[in-house]
Symmetry: C3
Subunit: 208 residues, 3 copies
């Protein structure tokens, strides 16, 4: 446990917001790799720390849920948001670890584009999560969900175009496979953001 004070009893929105903030931070770390001279090992280490911190929050959230009688939104919805949010940072951590294990030292333009979209998707998730405290925000939250869907489509297109270019231009097959796996991993992050958006959209449409 890295954070010392539990939020006031059963404030699940605090858990979500803290978690989403760490997710954005880890996405931005990944985005930093597109800058020249970035140290991939260092970035992977920092993301791993953020992921651990996020994990503690998820566990505390589940434990609080287990001990709380009355919840502000459906118990099951709290569980689903917490677990889908956690998937996002897990995949960011996985992508960073992979880049580090593959001993990558620079990202090509299309991978940079993928990280930009991925950062935007986590930022939209954070805004959607912050909106959840007040259902009067319904329209704004739904707007963020639509935005995340669009970003996911964009990530899909970037991946497909990158892989096609890779197959055409790169002649070393091992290198092709390595980058194929990297593009897949980056795209999966935005995919997981869409999963969070779907849960949130469902909750808002349930209540609104």
């Amino acid at each position: 446990m890295r954070w010392r004070f539990l939020p006031r009893q059963s404030d699940f929105f605090d858990f979500f917001e803290r978690h989403a903030a760490l997710t954005v931070e880890s996405a931005r770390e990944l985005g930093r790799l597109s800058k020249d001279g970035a140290n991939f090992q260092d970035v992977a280490r920092r993301i791993k720390d953020l992921e651990h911190e996020a994990d503690d929050i998820t566990h505390a959230c589940m434990e609080t849920l287990h001990k709380t009688f009355i919840t502000p939104i459906d118990r099951n919805d709290i569980h689903r948001i917490a677990s889908k949010l956690d998937d996002v940072i897990d995949l960011i951590d996985g992508a960073a670890r992979q880049l580090s294990l593959f001993e990558i030292t620079a990202l090509p333009e299309s991978a940079r584009e993928a990280t930009v979209v991925l950062v935007q998707a986590t930022e939209a998730v954070e805004r959607a999560v912050k909106g959840l405290r007040n259902m009067k925000n319904a329209t704004a939250i739904l707007g963020e969900c639509v935005r995340i869907n669009e970003l996911e489509n964009q990530a899909d297109r970037i991946k497909a175009a990158s892989v096609a270019r890779l197959f055409k231009e790169e002649s070393d097959p091992i290198s092709v496979l390595k980058w194929y796996e990297i593009y897949r991993a980056l795209e999966e992050v935005t995919d997981a953001c869409e999963d969070v958006a779907n849960v949130i959209e469902g909750i808002v449409l349930e209540h609104a």
Copy 2:
């Protein structure tokens, strides 16, 4: 918006049926690729149009849900059907785009088989969706869901056998990877049909 008249207020079944019909149509377009002389670029463009039209329906469905007080089935179930259905056509569009980007001009036998199964799966989804208007159809709907599960198993087997053959017979590694990715993309469509079937099965078993 390509379709001018909104279905009468809150008829979510109309949304589902329109969407499922477009999904079947786009699957059949993909199936057309197995015919000799098919133009892959043209097919990808037509599927993209169908996917846009389906997207408009999904958005109209979500908006209607947001504004509708009383719904014929659980609000959350409407949201899940709409979003899982939309995944199917997105993946069909993704597969078509990939074939076009990879500059494929003919499908081998095993990829043709995969498209046949995929078309059948979308047709079964359409029948299941049409059944939803009346819970007296429960047994028939559940039968379609079982059928979709079987088709998904078949798609799995086709993919595994295709990939194994590919590894054995194709000597150019880049070509192997390209077709590996195509078989994966085709199989994912049937997978997504199974996700729709699971949601529908859950709803029917909830109500029946």
Copy 3:
């Protein structure tokens, strides 16, 4: 149908436990491949039999649900557990079929590690499923779910390290792709165990 006596009416826990036991058994069969001299074809055949048996249970469970008026836990939760459990054994069967189709005759150390983790994950799923009969077991069940999450993280790390090593050490690209696909298939099994754990965790947190 291989098992002749339907459990007493609506005892869904019996279905789950029978299914989970078959899943563990099939995982252990897969684990047997790590022993020298294992016959991959034989193992794939035995797993296919277990998978068929599990399929019968899933169908019987769904049918019973369709005919049962009062259920011990939410109808929808029963459906989700049954269908997510079935995904696990399907993926074990898929992995075994793939190894057999690829004509693999021995597993390297890292694939052995992956099968060990995968067996442990199915065992934890079985314990979690057994706990469901009595919500007084809530804390123990939640502990199993946390354990399955940890195993999934471990499976992820094994896969990432295996693939990185593969890219570094194996020079034949077709062989690289083949093993890449195998590591992916093995990791997916543990992933599917996590999906079961998420459903169970959600149910327990709903009721506890």
